[in-house]
Amino acid sequence: MEAIEQRLAILRGSDPYIVIDTTQNRLTVRQGDDVLRNAICATGSGKVLLGGPGQMWNFRTPKRVFRVQKKVKDPVWKKPIWAFVERNEQAPVLPWSFERLDPNTLGAFALELENSYAIHGTLYPTLLGRHLTHGCVRLGDDDLEAAYRYVEPGTVVYVF
């Protein structure tokens, strides 16, 4: 039995990993049998935004297994087209336009996942625990900093 346990332990690894429960809006950082951090987060609203012809965005947090791609300190949000469509504003034509850059919205840290999804901070901490984001996962300042310190690029993020 010890041999099986060892093989399972090798498979499991000893690195921290993140679990995001989108039903209860909970983010947990775990390592082995330990819970390193338990936090309330905000996840995707599930709303659908229709833009011009053929343009549609679905603001849900995908249920899948991600890997952290990059850790970013003081992240700058490069606003996508939907951020302008949502406000009924004209999106800048050039993708690198200065008008697209927003240094204030994402908080002090960001953990970039695949497909432009990220775990980042929020300007509205009182709204944590709700389904209201555009698909990213928002955390409060302290929890975000803790998560940032625990994980490294390649850390597995289970979202369900």
């Binding site: 498979l11 429960d21 989108t22 039903t23 679905n58 289970y158 369900f160």
Partner: protein
């Protein structure tokens, strides 16, 4: 006198042997469960599976040997037999739902689930049940027919689990006593 002493010795021996046997069973179940878990995790490290341990009163959601969630069991009625039983999810049952037929309503490329009086709903509800083949239910309320093997968790935990699992997600029942 000698007969009585022999009888006493036999009773003491039996009482000593009984826990040993029970412990042996538990170890065997644990070994089988670990072996199954290893096979499953080696097949797909990211695939979720459920592990029910009635003796600990816990249901684990796991992937690749890692614990994702620990959920307290409210009640448990197992299948007959004391071994380790793997089952697969066949679907999520939604009592009091109306069937939309083969076309189903859609909005923005997504299915449009409606409850029985036409309200928009998504995901499992408190009364939903996860049905595992051949005959096992994971429910979020205690109102499960008594003759059915089942495990009951809180309604909010049921919704979480329903969001995590997919058709054919396996569940492993460890040492399930007969209902």
């Amino acid at each position: 006198m000698r007969h009585n002493r022999a009888l006493t010795l036999a009773i003491i021996s039996l009482s000593l042997l009984a826990p040993t046997r029970a412990f042996g069973d538990t170890l065997e179940q644990k070994r089988s469960a670990l072996a199954w878990e290893l096979r499953h995790a080696e097949g797909d490290k990211d695939a979720y599976y459920l592990l029910v341990s009635p003796s600990d009163g816990v249901l684990h959601l796991k992937a690749g040997g890692r614990i994702l969630l620990d959920i307290d069991i409210q009640s448990f009625r197992g299948l007959s037999g004391r071994g380790v039983t793997p089952l697969k999810l066949q679907g999520i049952l939604h009592p009091h739902s109306r069937e939309l037929g083969p076309t189903r309503g859609r909005l923005g490329g997504r299915a449009l689930p409606l409850d029985f009086i036409g309200r928009l709903t998504e995901g499992a509800r408190e009364a939903s049940r996860l049905y595992f083949s051949p005959s096992f239910l994971l429910a979020g309320d205690a109102d499960v027919p008594r003759h059915l093997p089942s495990v009951v968790v809180t309604p909010v935990n049921l919704k979480t689990l329903a969001a995590a699992v997919d058709t054919h997600t396996p569940i492993l029942l460890i040492g399930s006593p007969a209902p």
